[in-house]
């Protein structure tokens, strides 16, 4: 019994100590998570609900992964904070040395955090690798105009292009296909896991990764060897904290547990936070486009369905375009923080027009049931058509659920459709969508560079990022033409023609366009510098 009593007393003592500890630590929680032990205490914490698919540049083409890549990998060209123009980053110079040759000279004595020298050979390796791996979720489609890369000497790289005078190629090098990686660390023909990447330290951007817990917490340390355009970060280090729930993200920035809340707060959150005196809501130019993708093989009457009929498939897409009420979604779901989109290129970009406004609905942007019914009757489609509609609940903000519930309601209310609405978590979603799993599905787009082309080439040329089996040679020609047209007025005209052609085919159905939004504590500086039309989050400009 002695042992029994002793055990009990020990347990009670332990419980008592724990109770003391629990009650002793219930002070205010604010003021927090930013002094990460850095020498100057000037570290910053950025919170987001975005997720990293992979840190390997060859395997991802999403905002969550690219956000981290922008901090750790160097680019030949980059956008200076506050601007959107691609200018030399780790390059000394970059220019067209002939219509089809773009020559880049590297700065001297560049190196990776692991000590390996960064030379033109690494540049060639990085770009070739993206093309060779051509991962379904990778950015290989951005390099569609690239014929070859040559390392002339240790510091000179020559990009040979298929079409001359490519006006967006510098922007492409500053985008998802452009991170330069260490050829001594990465395999040439397959993707590398995040843990292996972190271990190999192939970083030569403004920061290196100090510790990495995928989609939980990433700790970034200032890279003293970075010699690029972005310069020395204004902080002593940065952390990226990942949230599953945007409510928690919002509450944590309000309580000061994180310094900046980036993507993806809901419209309601933003409206609420604007009234909070402890935080500032920063808004930047919006390039976000929200749209529905049609898989031309598996959508109703798609090429690989039992009832394949291209005319009927088009009628289905046209009827959807006629029935959907963008205004209602923008005002009711997004409280006006999004605007209706009537083109695949958001309004405001040079060359943007709004062809869908006239072509579908009542001609003013409102829905038209009569025109939808007409599209069905002309193609001989019998209503209702069953649509399997997929959306993602965690990547494009929590309101996606409300957005797609409303779309389902609008489509079904017309009597023309019966919608089976489904949702899948992002990591799976991003993989499955390219494998023909979803016949009709949600996507959103945050541009890589500020040019109308960024809303065309990735989506509507053969082998595009959508992998939705859409091909139209005349659209491809128009997109190629605008790419190589040096005269600005002429280029705008071609961009307009391309948008009109795409609107006729309806490979995607644009719904909404939005603004960039970040919420920061009152003591946080520099947030507005990264909210520019380059759409790149640069943690190096944020400080306290």
């Amino acid at each position: 019994m002695a042992m029994n009593k002793k055990a009990l007393h020990s347990a009670i003592a332990l419980a008592g100590v724990s109770a003391f500890a629990l009650t002793a630590c219930t002070g205010p929680s604010g003021g927090g998570g930013t002094s990460t032990g850095g020498a100057g205490g000037g570290t910053i914490t950025y919170g987001t609900t975005d997720k990293v698919v992979t840190l390997d540049p060859a395997g991802s083409y999403d905002a969550g992964s690219f956000m981290v890549m922008n901090q750790i990998y160097p680019f030949l060209l980059n956008a200076k904070p506050g601007t959107a123009d691609a200018t030399p980053d780790i390059a000394e110079s970059a220019e067209f040395t002939s219509p089809t040759e773009y020559t880049v000279k590297l700065k001297s004595d560049l190196k990776f955090a692991n000590g390996h020298a960064l030379t033109s050979s690494d540049v060639k390796f990085s770009i070739d690798r993206v093309v060779k791996i051509a991962d379904d979720n990778g950015p290989a489609s951005l390099l569609g105009n690239l014929e070859s890369v040559t390392a002339k000497d240790d510091s000179t790289v020559v990009f040979k292009l298929k079409a001359g005078n490519d006006q967006v190629f510098p922007g492409v090098l500053a985008a998802n296909a452009g991170p330069i990686v260490d050829e001594e660390v990465f395999p040439a023909d397959k993707l590398m896991s995040d843990d292996e990447i972190v271990k190999g330290k192939p970083f030569a951007g403004p920061y290196t990764i100090e510790s990495y817990k995928k989609n939980e917490l990433v700790s970034l340390k200032v890279n003293p060897d970075y010699k690029g355009l972005l310069g020395k970060p204004a902080n002593d280090g940065a952390s990226i904290k990942y949230y599953a729930d945007s409510n928690n993200l919002k509450l944590d920035v309000q309580q000061g547990n994180i310094d900046v809340a980036g993507r993806s707060l809901t419209a309601t959150d933003a409206a609420d936070l604007e009234k909070d005196s402890k935080v500032t809501v920063h808004k930047g130019p919006g390039g976000e486009l929200r749209y529905i993708v049609f898989n031309f093989d598996t959508m109703p009457f798609g090429a690989k369905t039992a009832e394949a009929d291209p005319a009927k498939a088009l009628a289905v897409r046209q009827a959807m375009a006629n029935v959907v009420d963008r205004d209602a979604i923008a005002t009711q779901v997004y409280k006006g923080t999004y605007l209706p989109a009537y083109s695949v290129v958001p309004d405001g970009f040079v060359g943007a027009i709004q062809p869908l406004k006239e072509m579908y609905g009542d001609g003013s942007g409102k829905p038209s049931l009569d025109k939808a019914k007409k599209a069905f009757s002309e193609a001989g489609v019998t209503a209702p058509v069953n649509i399997k509609l997929q959306y993602n609940p965690d990547h494009y903000g929590k309101s996606s659920g409300d957005e797609y519930a409303m779309i389902k309601e609008q489509l079904e209310k017309s009597g023309l459709f019966k919608v089976d609405l489904q949702s899948t978590e992002w990591v799976t979603y991003s993989k499955d969508r390219t494998k023909d799993v979803y016949p009709v599905y949600q996507l959103g787009w945050f541009p890589d560079y500020s040019d109308a082309d960024n809303y065309l080439t990735p989506f509507f040329v053969p082998g595009n990022f959508l992998k939705n089996h859409y091909e139209n040679p005349s659209v491809t020609d128009l997109i190629t033409k605008q790419l190589t047209t040096v005269d600005k007025a002429e280029r705008e005209k071609v961009l307009g023609e391309a948008q009109t052609s795409v609107a006729k085919d309806l490979s995607t159905l644009p719904l909404l366009q939005g603004a960039q939004l970040m919420v920061a504590g009152k003591d946080v500086k520099g947030v507005e510098k990264t909210l520019d039309a380059s759409f790149k989050t640069r943690l190096g400009v944020i400080s306290k």
Binding site: L8, A19, S29, T36, E216
Partner: protein
Amino acid sequence: MTTLIEAPPTDADGLLPSKKKSSGGGLGQYILIRFLLIFPTILILVTMVFFLMRITGDPITAALGGRLPPEQLAERITAAGYDRPILVQYFEYLGQLLTGNFGTTLSDNRQVTEMLTTYGSATLELTINALLVALLVGIPLGMIAAHRRDKAPDAVLRIFAILCYATPVFFSGLLFKLTFSVWLGWLPVAGRAKTSSELQLTSLQAPTGIYWLDAVRSGNMAALGDVMAHAVLPALALGLLTAGIFLRLVRTNVIGTLGKDYVEAGRSRGVSEFRLVTKHAYKPALIPIITVMGLQIAVLLGGAVLTETTFEWKGLGFQLATYLTARDFVAVQGIVVLLAVIVAVTNFIVDIVAALIDPRVRY
């Protein structure tokens, strides 16, 4: 010849037999049998989980059936080996488990074992915290209720107990969050620690992953305070669920004990009611608590799924919810099997502790 019958020694109040060394008879055999019973228990659990997961078909079909063209679905099923006879897959799965291989998740290509070790410690920490809350709230309040039987405090505590175990954990969690985090601003909203503490604790040499333990080991009192502050609301939300059960159990047992002859004898000798409750009634009343505690571990682990999701406590429960959303049955199966093992092992430990305290439960 006079036979001298020696009276058993008694405690200070002359009520209970005093400390007497346990013979320990049967304890070794008891432990051995209980230990050996773990294996069939786990085998039964693993088998049930495996076959229950297959009721809706193979994991690929369950995740993508009806959405993937049939030929692609077949391709994926073949590639993953799910087209083979179910028994072959079962025995192969058992073989994998014996070598500690739980497979690779379907949605993000992670080794399930790596995922389990990464997030298991977080769930363990939450469960320990919740158990502490349950004990600290349930036992004293149960004793008070028994002591004040049929009076106002007893009635209030009984209602409190009912509320505790009848309130869904996600509801109480949100309520606590709203009150203590949003309105009062006393406690953190979510997560296991501030970014700074988390970075310090995860950068330690050989961290256990149980943050308060790592903070104590490294002597980082600031991090310990932060970690404990983050633990309060999730521990309360989950712990109160079990505290209600403990409260009722202690109350009933203490009342039962207070009616025993030796307690009545104590009363007649003038021993105070408080002393009777705290010194003589609590110990017998705690023995069933220890047994129930084993069962409550399963309840706590189940509740952890909702608590972790509510508070973004990134443990196995949080991951389980994420993988369920992704319909990743390989990951779900791995997590459920691990939770089953934890429950079996905990019950074993509880049985041993119960046997140490009360020799009557031994074989």
